[in-house]
Amino acid sequence: MQPLFSIITPVYNPPHDAFEKCIESVYAQEFTNWQWCLVDDKSSDPYVVARIKELQVLDSRVVVYFRSENGGIIKASNDALSLATGEFVVLLDNDDELHPDALSDVADQIKQNPLVDYIYTDEDKISVSGEHYDEFKKPKWSPERLLAHNYCSHLSVIRRQLVNAVGRFRRGFEGSQDYDLILRVVEKTSRIIHIPKVLYHWRSVPGSVSIAAGEKPYAFVSAVKAISEYLSRKNVDAVVEEVAPYSLIRVKRTLKETPKISIIIPTCGTKKTIFGIETCLVLNAVESIERKTTYANYEIIVVADAKTPTEIIADLKRASPSHLKVIDYKKKFNFSDKCNLGVVNSDAPFFVLLNDDTEIISNDWLETMLSYLQEPDVAMVGPMLLLEDGRIQSAGHSHTPHPHNFYNGRSSAELGELGILKVARECTGVTGACAMIRRNAYFEVGGLSNNFPLSFNDVDLSFKFLDRGYRIIWTPFARLFHFETASRPNISTPEEIELITNRWGNKIYNDDYCRIQ
């Protein structure tokens, strides 16, 4: 049985060409079981009114309502929803276009997942001259990212019953009314599907939000309000801030508790030149923790190889007299085993795996990472790691087209595709060079695998978390230096490559969270 789609389009004086393109795109749909709910919001342009009347006469699938007074997009959209009788509503603006496959692709997904409540797709923009640009390859369902900006946006197809149940569009959210609706919808359902294909073309006309968020400051104010209310409904105590000047949002969750955090640092006491000075890496890391960290309840567990010079251990004890615990590692080098030894020596509910070739930048790095772990389904959080020269070392892992540190070598001042470097988001993994982990989850998945003594141990751990349904968050709001491979060369053994492929071969080259290269 094919679903009936109700396309919801409030109309108010659209440019003629854009409106005609919009009409063409609806009639170009391969899938024909639709109704088009057009509500004219008292357009003053006689052409628009006449065209709507014409559509109504020509096609019984077009359902029309002419408002007696201009009431704004929210009233008009709700009037359009009142006309709808379809199982799903499809949100289409009066100057945008649907891809010809839009409804058929969505219908295919509904056929495969009959219980789905909300489907969103990729989108791009069309310039005034008709050129397509800014293709937005969206991630799969990413609730943390949705708190930073309305990445779902167009095309959104929602079960009508659910739209009605959550109270349709709300007044007071002008400019972000769809964002507010999506936030209320996703609160009620987890049956959400992303179609990784551009099925919506968003027209950039002057005044449209698609040109620049700054064009409609009221929309941003509404977005902040929508998120604040969403968090309040979910009893999340947080501050909602603007990531200036990008009109992106940071949700700064308040810490409910300040549990003990163990910072586990495997080391063999290597010295390297950093910022032009020969430095003992682990000592530098520990000193920076002591100097910068504002979070009080932490301990540092240094897992030291037998060859670590005793004077370095003594220096460490001097640098951190009250927080430090040193564990001797007497076996053959195995990074995973060393970290696991550190973990079993800790009784904290959260711990940080930290390479010795790191240095803290953000004072609130522990608070920031811990704030995401207050969500029970988050297992691991990674920060922004920078190279010595300030370029990005890792902005999380990406597996497109193969496993790598996302944005490695690029400027940390970059915004990234649609703000990806400025917002906290779900990702396929974060580097083990610095990751805060929930102890229970770590034990549940068997920790770092000893089968990966050098490389891929973090990739494997990330996949194990994802496999168990946990989320992994990367945040740009905690920053550290990572003097990459300063302490050991970045090599992987053939056995490690074979094992990672055998375990996660299907997923490893297919990153649904990060589809840009």
């Binding site: 085993d337 696991n340 030894l341 973990v343 079993v344 020596n345 034990f443 549940e444 998945v445 068997g446 920790g447 770092l448 695998s449 000893n450 089968n451 494997d460 996949f463 194990k464 496999d467 094992l499 055998n502 375990r503 996660w504 071969g505 299907n506």
Partner: protein, 141 residues
């Protein structure tokens, strides 16, 4: 008051201290054992999850190979079809070559016949009879 009491208190205290030391030592050993067990637990869970992950990869790999196999079969069938049509084409060409050779032979035979005709007495007499007419034709031209 018993003169031995302080001594026995000291003894008791010393015995308690040594017992405490013993308990602490045993506790340390137990903690070490717990850590060893926790490490072993981590390894077993990793092994189990890794094995499950590898097992769940197998059907996907198998499906991939099956697809590749099906694709190879299809390519092989295409190639066979291609070879067949090539063979037929070659046969047609060979037939044409044979036909051409036959025609060439016929042509050669006809040329021989014509050459024989041109050197025959009848042809020469005929040309002699026609000579005046040829001369008049040339003059007229």
């Amino acid at each position: 008051m018993d003169s031995n009491t302080p001594t026995s208190a000291e003894e008791m205290s010393s015995s308690l201290a040594s017992e405490l030391e013993q308990v602490c030592h045993e506790l340390q050993l137990a903690e070490g054992k717990v850590m060893q067990l926790e490490l072993a637990l981590l390894q077993s869970r990793d092994f189990a999850i890794g094995a499950a992950a590898e097992a769940s990869e197998i059907p996907i790999i198998r499906a991939k190979f099956q697809n590749q196999f099906a694709e190879s079969e299809r390519k092989l069938a295409d190639a066979n079809e291609h070879v067949k049509s090539h063979v037929a084409h070659i046969a047609r060409l060979e037939q044409l070559v044979a036909d051409l050779l036959k025609l060439e032979k016929v042509n050669k035979d006809l040329r021989t016949q014509m050459n024989h005709l041109k050197i025959s007495v009848t042809w020469r007499v005929g040309r002699l009879i026609m000579l005046p007419i040829r001369i008049v034709k040339r003059i007229v031209k």
